[in-house]
């Protein structure tokens, strides 16, 4: 670890924190339907969309209607991606002449983009046409991100409203998020990325003759426009197989730094939207503080582990840390930081191969996903995931002092706690359950690229990433098989929607309750005690759930590595 490394990490944190208030202010205005400086251009487009779509923007929805609208929206999204992948050979904008994608892979990828996971069983440049990348993937990157944010905003309304039956209008939230938040930022961001060296062309792959006379086919495409929303919307699905490690998908140290900021920007700002909407910004900062504590701890462990290298490298006298699967222009610190950010949020883009990380360095990304990606988290999903843990922490605190727990003026009662527990328990059921199935099926075990405990970690990581809608991978695992395509798709589906539905039910039941003013017996939820309490609850629930699985994977591998055991 170096001083300049830590300066980069602290600078990163400082910029993310500095963006929280302005972005939070802007998004609060957008979602409360107020005018913004972009209204003169965007308002006509917005009203046209409502007119054609038959949406009355004044009519709000009950939580159940809101959820059904969201689900219907996804049915269409699924059909578009699946159809494009199956038919891409017959459609235009396919200069590399990619053939139709197999049904199971198309199914997996459609679910993957729908759920904001963006798991890559496909290899972008070797599988997909430009049309599929644009209309299938780029567009779904926008919509799954807008959906996540809309749901978080609906949940925030649940906390802030008093005795109301509705939590907003799904169509209005999605349209406003896409037009006012995502699209304008992406336009500027795309130009920045192209300036840094990212291709943005519809031209065919380039045939080059190298200096030594060999042939090299260089894949290009409309990369920058997709990468902008891929990062901003915490989607993470790569244009290229190597994702943000590919020099075209992340050309410079600066593009890397800005990409890291854009992963956290909206998710962190949503804590401020929460604070503003419930009438006390300190409530938002307290939640961000919980995230910050867990984040810094994770960065420190991964950075330390990667900078220390592996037993193999150290025995040969190779210094400079574990550079296997990392790019020179990023080095140890920017690769470690990126890995922790991308798994803390549900982004899943990678600028280094997590499979080649040290055992402990790779364990932190795994833990980040297993606690539900609530450290900033996916846009929207991170906040509603964190609020579920907050509900639980408040409940535990209430039990300790023997009072009915309250949070931002809402009584937390049996129904809320049940919904929160349901959402939190679904995740380990999927990733632990499917991992257990996979390791006893010989055909599934055959997909492992590494032997020994590392192979087990590959499988555990795959199901964790899919369930958490992350999308990063221990990439050695051959995931493009019938078994993994279907089981991973089921993990992604359950991980997304079985969390959303209880979360929305919770939002609906909170909105219907009366707001009560704080009294002398109310636990303050803006101070250090509360932050410590939530961190503790997250670590205890998380630790109890997945520690045994980690002991079989990264922990035993770390011990084996130090004993010079190879597999």
């Amino acid at each position: 670890m170096t001083v300049i490394g830590w300066i980069q990490i602290l600078l990163y944190c400082a910029i993310v924190v500095a963006l929280v208030k302005p972005l939070g202010w802007y998004m609060t205005r957008v979602f409360s339907g107020e005018r913004t400086f972009m209204s003169p251009i965007l308002r006509p487009v917005e009203t046209a969309l409502y007119r054609i779509g038959g949406v009355d923007e004044k009519r709000e929805q009950h939580w159940l209607t809101y959820t059904v609208a969201m689900l219907l929206f996804h049915v269409g999204g699924f059909l578009i991606i699946y159809g494009l992948m199956r038919l891409q050979a017959l459609l235009p904008l396919n200069p590399a002449e990619q053939s139709a994608v197999a049904p199971d892979l198309s199914f997996n990828t459609a679910i993957s983009f729908l759920t904001n996971t963006n798991w890559q069983n496909y290899g972008g440049e070797s599988t997909l046409s430009y049309l599929t990348q644009m209309v299938g993937l780029t567009h779904q990157n926008f919509l799954s991100a807008a959906t996540g944010i809309a749901l978080a905003v609906a949940m925030i309304r649940g906390f802030s409203r008093s005795s109301m039956r509705t939590i907003g209008n799904f169509w209005v939230d999605v349209v406003r998020c896409t037009l006012y938040v995502l699209l304008p930022i992406c336009i500027v961001y795309t130009l920045f990325l192209v300036w840094q060296g990212m291709p943005q062309t519809l031209g065919a792959y380039v045939e080059a003759t190298t200096l030594e006379g060999a042939k090299q086919t260089i894949a290009v495409g409309p990369v920058a426009s997709q990468v902008a929303i891929k990062m901003l919307g915490t989607n993470g699905g790569g244009f290229f197989n190597a994702n943000a490690a590919h020099p075209f998908e992340n050309p410079t140290a600066l593009s890397n730094f800005v990409q890291m900021i854009s992963i956290f920007a909206l998710g962190a700002a949503l804590t401020n939207v929460f604070g503003r909407t419930v009438g006390n910004q300190r409530q938002g900062w307290a939640i961000l503080a919980v995230m910050g504590v867990l984040f810094i701890a994770g960065v420190a462990v991964t950075y330390w582990a990667e900078a220390n290298g592996t037993a193999t490298l150290n025995a040969l006298g190779l210094t400079g840390g574990n550079m296997e699967g990392k790019e020179v222009r990023f080095g140890i610190v920017a690769s470690s930081l990126f890995a922790v950010i991308t798994t803390a949020a549900s982004c899943g883009a990678v600028n280094a191969m997590h499979d080649s990380f040290t055992a402990l360095g790779g364990m932190i990304p795994l833990i980040n996903m297993q606690i539900g990606e609530i450290i900033v988290g996916g846009v929207g999903a991170g906040l509603y995931g964190m609020l579920l843990f907050v509900v639980l922490a408040i409940f535990v605190a209430g039990l300790m002092v023997g009072r009915t727990p309250e949070y931002v003026g809402k009584k937390i009662e049996a129904r809320e706690v049940k919904m929160a527990m349901l959402a939190i328990l679904v995740l380990p059921l999927m990733y632990l359950g499917w991992t257990a199935v996979a390791v006893v099926l010989p055909s599934a075990v055959a997909s492992m690229a590494n032997a020994g405990p590392h192979g087990f970690t590959e499988v555990l990581y795959a199901f964790t990433s899919a369930t958490g809608n992350n999308g990063s991978a221990f990439g050695g695992l051959t995931g493009n098989t019938f078994f993994y395509n279907l089981t991973l798709a089921s993990s992604m589906f359950v991980g997304r929607f079985f969390m959303i539905v209880p979360a929305m039910a919770l939002a609906g039941s909170l909105a219907a309750k009366k707001s009560i003013p704080p009294s002398a017996g109310t636990l303050p939820t803006t101070g250090g005690l509360f932050v410590g309490l939530v961190v503790g609850v997250i670590l205890i629930i998380g630790g109890l759930t997945f520690f045994p699985a980690l002991a079989l994977g990264p922990i035993v591998e770390h011990l084996a590595m130090n004993a010079n055991t190879l597999f």
Binding site: G53, L191, Q200, R329, N450
Partner: protein, 200 residues
């Protein structure tokens, strides 16, 4: 609930048109006009032929060139398309080795590479980036130490004084961005092009 079906179809189609077609196509046009070189992939031409991209590494095996990092990229086996064969610096199929810290295959590969490099230059410690594969398999850069390590071999193969080659390397070291971000690096293709110029 039935009234949600119409927006589920129409709002979806309209947003698809805006974000999936209008946005990427407009960005392609604008980016192509403002940054034409980058938008096409930062291609390098020499004598009217495209020799590669400034951002994409390529394979160098000849002693008279600086070598990039080992690459783990692959290509479909021409004999059996269900299998893959090693194809270093395949810029149409990026990827890493994905071998973990306790992999015997990785340990053996690194040991072998270290021995080769030690035989080539026994006087300097082997830089770690020269024996580890990059994440993309297309890393265009090596570390400054990785370039300086190869100076004696390249100078000998080209009959150039070592000091001259070392000077070229030093000129091609890109520092951290703003002295802060990323790591110092040397672009292998740019260095080799300069080397060819210097040897003329």
């Amino acid at each position: 609930m039935l009234r949600e079906i119409r927006p589920a179809i129409l709002i979806l189609l309209l947003l698809t048109a805006i974000t999936g077609l209008a946005y990427p196509l407009a960005m392609t046009a604008i980016a192509g006009a403002i940054f034409p070189k980058q938008a096409q992939g930062s291609l390098i031409e020499k004598d009217g032929k495209i020799i590669g991209s400034a951002l994409i590494g390529q394979e160098f095996k000849d002693d008279k060139y600086f070598h990039g990092r080992p690459s783990a990229t692959s290509a479909p086996d021409p004999a059996d398309t269900t299998k893959t064969v090693s194809a270093p610096y395949n810029a149409a199929n990026s990827g890493g080795s994905n071998l973990g810290p306790t992999s015997k295959a990785l340990a053996d590969r690194i040991k072998e590479d270290v021995e080769k490099l030690k035989a080539e230059n026994p006087f300097a410690p082997v830089p770690v980036d020269l024996v580890t594969t990059s994440a993309s398999g297309l890393d265009p850069d090596i570390s400054p130490e990785g370039a300086l390590f190869q100076v004696p071999r390249v100078a000998k193969a080209r009959n150039l004084p070592e000091a001259r080659v070392r000077q070229l390397v030093t000129e091609h070291i890109q520092g951290r961005m703003a002295g802060l971000l990323g790591e110092p690096s040397v672009n292998v293709l740019a260095l080799n092009l300069a080397l060819d110029e210097a040897s003329k």
